[in-house]
């Protein structure tokens, strides 16, 4: 069917030569050694570092950067710039063929990129989750007993960094890439090549972070505070490169999303008919575009401190660790909402379908999303209430932090009122959405303790704050991530996931999640600091309880994996086009969606929430063939 179909299949060896994943890996490794060599020519290895006299951070950074370039060129990202450089005209797409091979290379089809993201992020989620299991294993006993302290810190840091870095794109990567063009009636994203680039940047970042174990790991946790960052051994470089690449990937992803939603909406899709999921994506993307560059800049400074011996963060050299803390949290707080907002959007998008009612208070929920987007810029110093920075400004940051609960409350109100008097049914995606209410409620209420300075003095840096952000991020984002998987994977793959196993997965996960993180509030209140390998022996019972619950939580995620693989590889129950009876545009298309999405760009005639109202089709094919926003 494809016009690009290969006429005669060449032999295997011939197909392995060319721009593909194999070439990419070869060039990536080769680039690493080239960069390593160049770095050693430019700068000598440090000799005064007593831990590792061969440490040459310049060589390591060069290796990572040139290796990354080699990897991207090997995938074929160099072809387009090279031909543009020679003056050939622009084009949109590359290698939009069918078949399994397109998932393992550069492909500009937004649906392929979405599925690539789903598997890629899933892989790193698994690695990060495994780290969490190791952490809880170590915390079974109040003293260090399995891992030495350095390895323990590396595990903690890798868990945090992996999760915070990868899951920034956890919803926008797989689901927004796949669904936004379908929801707004477009055939592609605004910048298809950039879309593919964001995915491969993220994957290279993940691989680079994993290489930290060859360089002794890193001791700073996901925040990478200076001056410990500057003092740390070579494993720190992997952290810096990882997070900078994640930042670039995030920024480009957000840019692509905003440009797509602004310029590519189908005729008739006015702003007040835009699905709430797209509003959530839009507000998240705004935060991504503006916050991620600050992260890249601050990591650039950290890189210069570690290589060129600048003194941005060294108080003895005219710098200040406060600079790092400020800049990191100027990024870091919007980042927290980059993780939370897509969850809000998914809940609000799914509830109308399962309540068979229009979304209650559409404008209010949009106002809630945008209000959070705005306010999240004004609160960063609540992360550093006890650090001694600007202590007289703390009442302001206390107020601005607590103000965020007003727009967040809009989301709660709209979600809850959508349920009221509906015709509720409870398939797996609905269960995960309802769990969001409970988890985010606890996460939000515990956040009040952290926003209030006197209470924060007790809870800051303790397991209380750790429990708080796991309730908001895991309870808020990961639960809705699973809601989205159970809801949209039938559309993406054409196969239903097993409902009964899904319900077992949900209940096991919901109960063990609360049993894991609920007691951590008490543990934190009782004085256990985060990231410490030891704790008071009186807290051992609670910690063991948490560890065992965490293992059950891990098991529930394995159960999901079994369900996922079983349903998609073995059972293969074909999904109907619209199994949930949704009115949204993507469900009006066949499952899985054909390569080009729409024969003719549709004309949107109503918003996707008109349940119970006089109904026509939500969209009809537009009279002319191709077009953008009306």
């Amino acid at each position: 069917m494809s016009a690009v179909a290969i006429e005669t299949t060449p032999p295997l060896w011939r197909r392995l030569i060319g721009f593909n994943l194999l070439t990419a890996v070869v060039l990536g490794v080769g680039g690493w050694y080239l960069g390593w060599f160049i770095g050693h020519q430019v700068a000598g290895a440090s000799i005064d570092y007593f831990g590792d006299i061969d440490q040459n951070d310049v060589a390591i950074f060069c290796g990572y950067i040139i290796g990354l370039l080699g990897f991207l060129i090997g995938l074929g990202f160099g072809v387009y710039p090279w031909s543009r450089m020679r003056g050939y005209p622009p084009s949109l797409r590359e290698k939009e063929t069918e078949g399994a091979g397109r998932y393992f290379g550069l492909c500009t089809d937004h649906k392929v990129v979405g599925i690539q993201y789903l598997w890629g992020i899933g892989l790193f989620f698994f690695v990060g989750g495994l780290n969490a299991m190791f952490i809880r294993m170590e915390l079974l006993s109040p003293t260090s007993h399995i891992f030495p302290p350095g390895q323990y810190l590396t595990l903690v840091g890798m868990h945090g960094t992996m999760m915070m870095g990868m899951f920034t794109s956890g919803i926008l990567g797989p689901f927004a890439n796949y669904l936004v063009p379908l929801m707004i009636g477009a055939r592609r994203m605004a910048f298809p090549r950039i879309e593919a680039l964001t995915f491969w940047l993220l994957m290279s970042a993940g691989a680079i972070l994993t290489t930290t174990i060859f360089f002794g790991g890193f001791p700073t946790g996901w925040t990478g505070y200076e001056p410990l960052n500057d003092q740390a051994n070579a494993g720190m470089d992997a952290y810096i490169v990882f997070f900078a690449l994640v930042g670039i990937s995030m920024c480009l992803l957000g840019l692509n999303m905003i440009a797509t939603i602004v310029t590519m909406r189908a005729p008739g899709l006015t702003w007040s008919r835009l699905p709430i999921f797209c509003w959530g994506v839009l507000s998240t993307a705004i935060l991504m575009v503006l916050a991620a560059p600050v992260l890249v800049a601050v990591l650039g400074m950290a890189m210069l401190d570690r290589t060129a011996q600048t003194t941005f963060f060294l108080p003895t050299g005219g710098g200040s660790p406060y600079l790092y803390e400020n800049l990191f949290w100027i990024f870091g707080h919007p980042e927290v909402y980059i993780l939370a907002l897509p969850g809000f959007a998914i809940v609000l998008e799914l509830l109308p379908v399962f309540a068979r009612k229009p979304l209650w208070g559409y404008r209010l929920s949009v106002a809630g999303l945008l209000g959070v987007t705005l306010l999240s810029w004004l609160v960063w110093q609540h992360h550093i209430f006890v650090s001694g920075i600007n202590s007289d400004l703390r009442p302001f940051y206390m107020l601005s932090t607590e103000l965020i609960s007003i727009p967040t409350g809009f989301t709660f109100l709209c979600g809850l009122m959508t349920l009221w008097r509906g015709n509720l049914r409870f398939p797996v995606p609905m269960l995960f959405c309802l769990a969001w209410f409970f988890n985010f409620l606890i996460g939000g209420l515990s956040g009040v303790f952290l926003s209030d300075v006197p209470s924060d003095v007790t809870t800051h840096g303790s397991f209380f704050s750790m429990a708080h952000f796991h309730y908001t991020i895991m309870g808020g984002l990961v639960f809705t991530f699973f809601a989205a998987i159970y809801y949209w994977v039938p559309k993406m793959t054409g196969y239903m996931l097993n409902e009964r196993l899904g319900k077992v997965h949900f209940w096991l996960m919901f109960i063990s999640f609360n049993s894991t993180f609920g007691p951590l509030f008490a543990i934190g209140f009782l004085g256990q600091p985060r990231r410490a390998v030891t704790y008071a022996h009186t807290l051992q019972f609670l910690n063991d309880w948490v560890s065992i619950s965490a293992f059950v939580l891990g098991f529930s995620l394995l159960l999901f994996l079994v369900n996922f693989v079983w349903s998609l590889v073995f059972a293969k129950v074909p999904a109907p086009a619209n199994p949930w009876g949704s009115r949204s545009l993507e469900w009006q298309l066949p499952s899985p969606v054909p390569v080009h999405n729409f024969d003719r760009i549709p004309h949107i005639t109503s918003d996707p929430y008109d349940y119970g109202e006089a109904r026509g089709p939500v969209a009809v094919p537009a009279p002319t063939g191709v077009g953008g926003m009306s």
């Binding site: 387009y80 031909s83 543009r84 003056g87 084009s91 503006l290 003194t311 003895t316 005219g318 729409f598």
Partner: protein, 226 residues
Amino acid sequence: MSELVSHATDYEIVEGEPPELLGRNLNSGAHLFASATAFFFLAFVFAYFYLRSLNNADKWRPKHIDPSLAYGTIVMALIVLSALLVRIGLLQHRAGRRAQWRRTGVVALALGIAGVVVQVIEWTAIGFGPADGGYASVFFGWTAFNVLFTIGTLFWLENIVATSLRYRSHATGSPAPGEASGDPGRPGHDISDPLSLVRPGLESLSFYWGFVAGLGVLSWVVLYLI
């Protein structure tokens, strides 16, 4: 099964998108990337004023740390001039004076490259190193990343100039299919009339290059004047 799409439809139908849509994409992309760039350099502005106000260990700016104003002004002037020329080139292109635009574009490119070269010369002749206190750190960090952004924008400028030069005899119309960037196996272009994209590209570039030049002026004011 759906009236909107069917699996049996030929893939050919996605070929030939209207270039206006791409122009809009490019334009919004350039504005968004400019916002991202602004926030990137905001970190350096913040670092400058924060470290200056703290002056830890009296190492903000020891006496001998004094980069040459002449070099700084030359770099800034070259970049601003190049951005102005691109703007003028855009006006010429709009007025249909393609040959003039091509000359202006080449000169703008040369000026931009000269700006980068002078910046590199300044680094080697500056008389202090990155380890000499807070100001020196901010100076080297800021100028280094400024050069990176400048090189990226110059690459974009080069693409547009190169396309204009290569197809200087085509007024509009499609080049041969094999010449489309990207997949060489594609029988036709996926954009109809891809050469007409030079104008929207130039418009977005002109905006973004002006923005980067503005940042150059900002860095000149902050790093050299105050």
